[in-house]
């Protein structure tokens, strides 16, 4: 440990400040005055930010290859030596430890920095709401979970954070729990995420059996610590490659990578698990900004980049990631074209931009993905906060058809919002331009196959659509004629400084945030790429077929300029179109909607995906459950009771024994058998003692039959 690394040494404290504050809020919050809530909650995040900044600063002072800091706080789950069918496995353990490297540095700065601004903003936005302390308690709990997620040094701890952010997301989406839509949305988010989580969990277990460890790397321990004691997955992978155990495209590696990506699709709202994110807009706007735009939803991207070594070893998984990313990008953008709820437009935009990030990862441009993650955090947080400010000014109105001409009435909000829009549309020199351009260029140059060219085309079209729907939003909200309802109009006011100052800071970041990743072709030095270089896995030279992606710089320059120009032009075209349709030609929008009726409806109803999911999964599960009940009441009681009545009349002379047998035995038996085949659950609980005895006897017969068959096989 080098002297003067105070903040690095105490990087483990970074998540703790919000945790302490969250605990305080949830246990004592009700009794605290509002200013104390502000002090603790905003203060704790600020301290976290200071510690993060300090730690990253000290990390940056190390030599590039030394920029890893790992520390095990305590051994969480010691498993010792396991004897399995796969042979003994020594000292498998999951620890509660932190890993600070260039990648997690970027993440903690974004999380604490943007998080702090959003906390400040929330003090203004939530000032009039009930449950103020509860809101901030959850928000701080979220910060703790998110920081645990990004600082974790192993998959299981990361999963703890992963579940933690999911839980907080659930709590915050249903913050207005008296609204049914809000609590439904919360539940939807949670359950959809659980589907993804199952994939992630499977990936963790599969990794543990494959690599014998779930720690990411063994780098970054203090010099005194024997790193071989703490093997990481990266080490296991390298050793395995060297010894030939692991090869590119091995099924088990592909399986792990794909399962992880399933987890990522849940959390980062990709096809097919994206459906929860638009509904998540039921939560308060700062929550949308923090969780559903800037931080939590990017966890999937973070995970994929964190596991980039594994993904690079599984080209098929990479292709899947790229394809799903591109598909999600254009699909979500198309739905964003016609939405009228200001927050929903932004929600689809978020899904679309997350698709971009996965596209980047999928074509091997992990750095580009993280770069876009960062710039997106700036401008998308700004867009959400700005929309919150608009909603605030209009006393809660979210429908863009009831806005317009707000530019001069709420100038700070409008101007910052406009900057963010330029950034997301990819207009130079705003932040979004650099990151988006890098992704598109890397996609185009990702390989010679048609696959990459198609992806590029999709990306460029998406860029145009993005510019279009964002300017549609801006035009409908800030320009044109006012369609604001009369009684609302009088109350339009600019938000208080606690809200506008974060907007201004984020606006500055949206402008300059991209400059650290200025590509060499534009005369810059790509600091961002250099910074992240140590965490990107470069396969050993022995593995041909992976390394050839990096084309020599001399060849790509002319092409790169052309592509850059194309994407800017497309963006400008989108802006122009939005201007024509929504500002210059009154009524054109409606006419177009009419002319393209079915398409419009399809887009507007989000391709009916919610309905399809509902019909396919939700309703079926519910049906199954109710059917069990119905079947019992309907068929069994119907046939059993009525049928036995008729039978008794017909054959009333037959003895009681027979009667009982018919009523409870035979009907029960056939009923039981039928239900055994059809419904696996409540069916047997008829309450009748003898049907239970019958089930037991059937079980005995099955068991005996099976054992006997086995016995005969053995004799």
């Amino acid at each position: 440990m080098m002297p003067g690394e105070y903040f690095l040494e105490h990087a483990g404290w970074i998540p703790l400040f919000p945790l302490v504050s969250a605990a305080l809020m949830l246990f004592l919050g009700r009794r605290l005055p509002k200013f104390a809530v502000n002090l603790f909650c905003v203060g704790s995040v600020f301290i976290s930010f200071v510690f993060s900044a300090g730690a990253v600063y000290q990390l940056a002072h190390r030599a590039a290859e030394d920029r890893f800091f790992q520390k095990i706080l305590f051994i969480w789950i010691p498993a010792g030596v396991y004897h399995t069918t796969a042979g003994p496995l020594a000292n498998f353990a999951a620890d509660w430890g932190i890993l600070l490297d260039p990648l997690s540095s970027v993440m903690i700065l974004v999380v604490t920095g943007v998080g702090f601004l959003i906390h400040v903003y929330s003090t203004g936005y939530m000032a009039q709401e009930g449950g103020y302390y509860r809101f901030f308690g959850y928000l701080n709990l979220f910060m703790f979970s998110m920081l645990t997620l990004v600082l974790a040094n192993n998959l299981l701890l990361m999963f703890v954070g992963w579940e933690g952010v999911g839980l907080c997301s659930y709590l915050l989406i249903s913050f207005y729990f008296h609204k049914k839509t809000a609590s439904d949305a919360g539940k939807k988010a949670f359950i959809v995420n659980r589907v993804g989580d199952t994939g992630f969990l499977l990936a963790i277990f599969l990794s543990s059996v494959t690599f014998g460890t779930i720690r990411f790397t063994s780098r970054g321990f203090e010099k005194l610590v024997d790193a071989t004691q703490y093997p990481g997955m990266l080490d296991a992978l390298n050793i395995g490659i060297a010894s030939g155990v692991f090869a590119v495209g091995m099924p088990v590696l592909t399986a792990i990578a794909l399962l992880m990506f399933v987890g990522a699709t849940g959390k980062s709202a990709q096809i097919p698990l994206y459906v929860w994110l638009p509904d998540a807009m039921e939560g308060p706007t700062p929550v949308s900004a923090l969780i559903h735009a800037a931080t939590m939803v990017t966890a999937g991207v973070y995970m994929v980049v964190r596991m980039n070594s594994l993904f690079q070893m599984a080209p098929f998984a990479m292709h899947v990631v790229a394809a799903i990313g591109a598909l999600t990008a254009i699909y979500a953008a198309s739905m964003g074209l016609v939405q009228t709820d200001i927050k929903r437009v932004l929600a689809y935009s978020t899904i679309s931009q997350l698709g971009y990030m996965f596209l980047a990862c999928g074509v091997g441009a992990f750095v580009g993905g993280v770069f876009h993650l960062m710039t997106h955090a700036f401008f998308k947080a700004l867009l959400f906060l700005g929309s919150g400010s608009v909603i605030h000014a209009l006393s809660g109105e979210q429908d863009m058809r009831k806005m317009g001409a707000l530019w001069s009435k709420i100038p700070v909000t409008a101007k910052t919002f406009f900057i963010a829009t330029l950034a997301i549309a990819g207009i130079p020199p705003f932040a979004g331009f650099f990151s988006k351009d890098e992704i598109l260029w890397k996609t185009f140059s990702g390989g010679e196959e048609v696959f990459y060219k198609v992806l590029w085309v999709v990306g460029v079209i998406t860029a145009g659509m993005t510019a279009f729907y964002m300017f549609r939003l801006v035009n409908m909200t800030f320009f044109g004629t006012s369609r604001v309802e009369h009684e609302v109009e009088h109350h339009i006011h600019e938000s208080p400084p606690s809200m506008t100052v974060p907007l201004i800071i984020l606006a500055i970041l949206s402008v300059v945030g991209g400059w650290i990743g200025k590509p060499a072709s534009l005369g810059g030095v790509n600091h961002f790429e250099r910074w992240l270089e140590p965490v990107i896995f470069s396969p050993p030279a022995a593995l041909a077929g992976l390394a050839e992606r990096a084309l020599p710089a001399a060849h790509r320059e002319p092409m790169e300029y052309i592509l850059m120009a194309v994407s800017v032009l497309i963006a400008l075209a989108g802006i122009w179109l939005a201007r024509v349709i929504y500002l210059q030609r009154e009524g054109l929008a409606d006419r177009l909607a009419e002319k393209w009726g079915p398409l419009y409806t399809l887009l507007h109803r989000k391709y009916y995906m919610d309905e399809i999911y509902d019909a396919l999964f939700v309703q079926r599960t519910k049906d199954l459950a109710t059917a069990l009940g119905m079947f019992d009441r309907g068929v069994i009681d119907g046939v059993g009771v009525n049928g036995s009545g008729a039978l008794t009349l017909a054959i009333c002379r037959i003895s009681m024994w027979w009667d009982t047998w018919i009523v409870d035995g035979l009907v029960g038996l056939t009923g039981t058998l039928v239900r055994l085949g059809s419904y696996p659950a409540r069916f047997v609980q008829t309450g009748k003692l003898q049907s239970y005895a019958l089930v037991i006897v059937l079980g005995v017969l099955l068991l005996l039959g099976y054992f006997l068959r086995h016995a005969m096989g053995m004799v």
Binding site: T660, K688, L689, Q690
Partner: protein, 100 residues
């Protein structure tokens, strides 16, 4: 000397009669009696095996089963009486307050 297999077949018959009784009879007291029948089938089995193997363990086992059967009968009749007092019936198929 009667071969062991005869005892086993007798035991199996008793066992089957007991099981059928449990599944088909409506009166809970008779169900209880059917269960006792199964226990006695077990006893016959054990004693027959005990003789066949020339080991005393089986008979010891049987004694424990006899005791257990008595205890079960005692507790069972107590429960049945309590049930009858509340419900005025002893029919198994009228017992369905608890279901689904």
């Amino acid at each position: 000397m009667i071969p062991t297999s005869h005892y086993l077949i007798l035991s199996l018959l008793l066992f089957t009669i007991g099981v059928i009784g449990v599944v088909t009879r409506r009166n809970v007291v008779i169900i209880l009696m059917s269960i006792e029948l199964i226990l006695n089938a077990v006893n016959i089995n054990l004693v027959a095996f005990s003789r066949h193997l020339g080991s005393i363990d089986g008979q010891a086992f049987a004694i424990f089963i006899i005791t257990d059967a008595a205890a079960e009968a005692a507790v069972g009749l107590g429960i049945i009486i309590a049930y009858f007092r509340n419900r005025q019936t002893l029919l198994a198929d009228e017992m369905d307050l608890l279901r689904w």
